[in-house]
């Protein structure tokens, strides 16, 4: 029985998901004039409890125009943004068009073993060169980063008469002032008598 338990625990440990990588959704679109540079932020998240090192590489037409670190250290459970810099040389061949596409990959290597399971993230990258028409229509991922605004309104706890009066607190102050003025007039009148 003890042996079976140990085997089950061992099996569960071996089957635990140890490679976990996450990225911010949405394509990277970088607008760069000829002879210029520009950057976009590539957000990656490490789901593990310890710092991991991932390697970056680019594929496709964009590869030769992109610059980024070869490896990035990802702290656990934190979004790490890496600059993906695009540089278009001054002698860029305009016949190539103003729409250069490709991908950036973030690879997390698995643990060595008989079969090493790697996990990698693939990010669509488009360089747009202002003033140049695209060479050909190419499909670009159109995922938009989702932003949710969570609004929390604290209740005032005022109801009925208080709510009514609350809306007119300025009026209350005014009434007090009027009464005080009336009091002074009354007191003055009494003194005269």
């Amino acid at each position: 029985m003890k042996r079976i338990m140990i085997l089950i625990i061992l099996g569960l440990l071996l089957a635990s998901p140890v490679y976990a990588l996450q990225q911010i959704a949405g394509p990277l679109v970088i607008s760069v004039p000829i002879g210029g540079t520009n950057s976009a932020k590539y957000g990656l998240i490490n789901d593990e409890n310890e710092t991991i090192t991932i390697s970056l590489r680019a594929e496709g037409d964009v590869a030769k125009y992109l610059f980024f670190p070869a490896t990035v250290d990802l702290l656990p459970n934190k979004i790490i943004y890496t600059d993906i810099t695009a540089k278009i040389p001054a002698d860029y061949d305009t016949s190539l068009g103003g729409n250069i596409t490709g991908y950036v990959y973030a690879l997390q290597e698995g643990k060595p073993g008989q079969v090493k399971i790697n996990v990698q993230m693939k990010k669509s990258v488009t360089i747009l060169i202002p003033g140049l028409p695209p060479k050909a229509s190419k499909t670009v991922e159109t995922t938009n980063p989702q932003t949710t605004i969570v609004s929390t309104t604290q209740p005032t706890g005022i109801t009925g008469l208080f709510a009514l009066v609350s809306a007119n607190s300025f009026v209350i102050v005014l009434i007090i002032l009027v009464i005080i003025v009336l009091m002074f007039i009354k007191i003055k009148g009494g003194m005269k008598k």
Binding site: I149, V173, I176
Partner: protein, 151 residues
Amino acid sequence: MKEIIGMLAAVLALTVLAVNVLATETATSTASVSVPATCGLSATDISFGSLAPGFTSSDVTSTVSMPTGNYPLIPTIKGADWTPSMAVGQTRWYMTDVTYESMTTLTTSEASIGQSVGFGSPKTVHFKLQIPNGQAAGTGYTQTITFTASC
């Protein structure tokens, strides 16, 4: 005199009311948080154990999941040749447990697993390996399989 006392009482009452109202009037604050769309991927290890030439392994599985994230995706799978020397295609995969012959051959090109993986909806990928007859004996055969997520 009575009128003055009455007025003082009225002022006092109104002051108490005003203080009460002003004290219970709480500011309405709006907190906002930006939740980006993210996709992630995780996969469990596999091992075929020890196999004699001409034999096919039993079914082994890797669970592909999205432990965190909110953007479902359809992962791709690709492999590399076995080292020191065995074709990548000796490994086959499929999304259900079927015979080796019915499975999809693993290649060095990305192939979609055809099923969406989202948060809370992991998928099981089944693998089998066949050792060709004449394959050299060895204990250190290794292969790399890569799951890719795009979003």
